[in-house]
């Protein structure tokens, strides 16, 4: 029992932690995004990507929204993993917010010429632009802050553990 515990905390900060955050972040913020789209805050079809899948049932109505949420959640896992590998040491929440805006830039500046379903940022209306930016900033905050905080706590725990070993 005692050994297992020690092993657990000494192990490096697990990727699964980041993936859990990515999972919940994806679900929560894609639901918020669906709501925003429902009220026409964003005028492009945020679930358009689903139409690449050739299942007609998924192309409209509730199933489309559901498929959209699942798709975004999967993307979110990748985003969380990216944060985990490059930015987890960050201490301030501003990194996380900038990270979110960076993700936004990747989608709407870099990738939008490749995917016709993604609007280019210069063609967005003021509403769409501000809403998508705010959403991504908050999403980045959620992912980044949570992972960094988890990492900070993990380091603290490890430090305490080592300190305890050295003295015991």
């Amino acid at each position: 029992m005692e050994r297992g515990k020690a092993k657990e905390t000494e192990a490096s900060f697990p990727l699964s932690y980041a993936l859990t955050i990515g999972l919940f972040g994806g679900i929560i913020w894609s639901v918020v995004a669906q709501l925003a789209a429902y009220f026409h805050f964003m005028t492009f079809d945020i679930n358009a990507i689903v139409e690449y899948v050739n299942i007609p049932k998924l192309h409209s109505g509730f199933y489309k929204v559901l498929a959209g949420i699942i798709f975004h959640t999967i993307l979110s896992l990748i985003v969380a993993a990216a944060y985990y590998f490059f930015l987890k040491q960050s201490k301030t929440i501003w990194t996380s917010i900038l990270f979110g805006i960076g993700v936004w830039a990747v989608f709407f500046i870099l990738l939008s010429p490749l995917f016709p379903s993604l609007p280019f940022w210069l063609e967005m209306s003021r509403d769409t632009l501000s809403t998508s930016l705010s959403l991504f900033a908050l999403y980045g905050l959620f992912i980044g802050y949570s992972i960094s905080y988890g990492y900070e706590r993990h380091l603290l725990k490890e430090k305490r553990m080592n300190w305890g070993n050295a003295n015991g």
Binding site: T20, D127, S130, A137, S146, Y149
Partner: protein, 492 residues
């Protein structure tokens, strides 16, 4: 020699002079002295009128005065020791500095000074004017204990001790205020509370430099958490002894301030402010339901008005299913202004209701609810929707368990309403994002304010949304870094 270090003189007459100078004896009507001769020695008793119990003093005096009868056989012993032995009270202390004696007398204890003895005997005969524990007005419950904290710190710590009879529950007494010398107790359970947190609180308390704290705990809070202009409360207040005890067991630190009926709970996040004793007195399912409804109320108090304003002023945003929303009548005043006026009106009523005598405030509430709203619509000042949504938001405000958070939410709401009225959709989303970022950035004594939402902690978050049965929740919340994480010692 410095004034502070002045020793008590051998002759009580000299002490009288010192007391006249330092304690306004003779000038101030509530300071008094009674002079006796017992066993051939001068004995002076100093007291403050109204803070001590005369019956106790009379009891003690009648013992002392009877001493003269059988004094002869005890010639060999010093009279001062005889007198001390005959002080019939369990709490007698020795003090040898004049300043210390004065502090004690001003707290309501009596100082007995015997000629030839360079010390004062302090007897605790305090009896402060105060009320009995009763149910706090701001935290009522349907079921649950009805005793609340009162203005007396001793009763407050006693009410807490009644619930946790653990020797490790500690109340560390401190004095704050150069002139007021108010008692402030740090309450925590050794072995659960984070020692670092206790250390920080102790340090912050001792570094407070002020003459007095008549506003008691609020002033202490401002010194400890450095609030600035931030409207959101970083500590939680409670007047309920059961809530205080529950938080002690979770590893929080409590601050009891004398003269205040509320105690400070440190640290407290946003979601700590969303809890209510009522949830824990009902079955978990009911508690969860109540909590969800409460969250809806809180969210409504923040976002309902600005969101409706946004949809009403930009009807093309409405999805087809909700096309009926929005003002159906022509308006004379811009909607944003109507909302702000209505909100200010409700605020007037709230402010007025606080200091209006109860019989009048009932009548006033009626006038407000029925007449003002209806007439405002009739004369064309408001559209009916404004009244509806403003009232809903106001009720949401009252459904917030924490009074402090509800008012802070109101300020945030006004900020978002202004943003919406100027910038429409971009205003709404950016203002909302800013409020969330602002809250996430806040730290309450090193605790993230929006935890467990930001940073996200799935387990703790589920406990925020689902009120778990007590036997099922084996762990203390991790956010206060409890030293012993298990609630159920053998249930690991």
């Amino acid at each position: 020699m410095k004034d502070e270090q002045l020793k008590i003189p051998k002759d009580p007459e000299k002490l009288d002079k010192l007391m006249e100078e330092k304690m306004s004896l003779g000038t101030s009507f509530d300071a008094g002295v009674r002079r006796f001769t017992i066993l051939g020695k001068k004995v002076h008793i100093y007291y403050i009128n109204g803070l001590c119990d005369s019956l106790f003093i009379i009891g003690i005096l009648s013992q002392l005065t009877q001493l003269q009868l059988h004094e002869k056989e005890q010639k060999s012993i010093r009279p001062a020791r005889v007198i001390e032995n005959h002080l019939v009270h369990q709490s007698v202390e020795h003090v040898d500095k004049v300043q210390d004696a004065i502090d004690q007398v001003l707290s309501g204890l009596i100082a007995v000074v015997v000629e030839g003895d360079e010390q004062a005997l302090i007897v605790d005969v305090r009896s402060y004017p105060g009320r009995q524990p009763e149910e706090p007005d701001t935290e009522k419950v349907v079921r649950g204990s009805r005793d609340g904290y009162v203005e007396n710190i001793i009763i407050n710590t006693a009410l807490t001790r009644r619930r946790i009879r653990d020797g490790r529950l500690r109340f560390e007494m401190n004095r704050v205020g150069d002139r007021s010398k108010t008692d402030v107790a740090i309450g925590y359970i050794e072995g659960i509370a984070d020692p670092n947190l206790v250390k920080i609180v102790r340090k912050e308390l001792s570094s407070i430099e002020i003459d007095g704290i008549p506003m008691a705990d609020k002033t202490i809070e401002e010194f400890i958490v450095k609030q600035g202009f931030n409207p959101y409360p970083i500590v939680r207040y409670t007047e309920r002894a059961d809530i205080g005890a529950a938080h002690l067991l979770e590893g929080h630190v409590l601050l009891f301030v004398d003269t205040s009926p509320s105690v400070i709970i440190l640290p407290a996040t946003f979601f700590h402010h969303m809890q209510h004793a009522e949830e824990y007195r009902q079955s978990p399912a009911v508690g969860t339901f109540v909590r969800w409804v409460r969250f809806i109320g809180v969210i409504a108090s923040l976002f309902l008005l600005p969101f409706w304003l946004l949809l009403a002023s930009q009807t093309e945003l409405l999805p087809d299913a909700l096309k009926f929303i929005g003002p159906n009548e022509e308006t004379n005043i811009p909607l944003a202004l109507q909302i702000i006026i209505a909100d200010a009106g409700i605020e007037f009523l709230r402010i007025a209701a606080i200091h209006t005598p109860t019989p009048l405030s009932t009548a006033m509430g009626l006038i407000a609810a029925v007449l003002i709203g209806q007439i405002a619509i009739d004369v064309g000042l408001f559209v009916p929707e404004v009244i509806l949504y403003a009232s809903l938001a106001a009720i949401g405000t009252y459904a917030t368990p924490s009074y402090e958070v509800s008012i802070a939410n109101k300020l945030a709401r006004i900020f978002i309403i202004l943003a919406v009225s100027f910038f429409k959709v971009p205003g709404f989303v950016i203002a909302t994002a800013l409020v969330i970022i602002y809250l996430a950035r806040m730290r309450a004594l090193n605790t993230p304010y929006l935890w467990p939402l930001l940073p996200f902690d799935p387990k703790a978050f589920s406990q925020v949304f689902v009120r778990r049965a007590i036997p099922g929740s084996k762990m203390r919340p991790s956010i206060v870094h409890p030293e012993d994480p298990y609630r159920q010692p053998n249930g690991k």
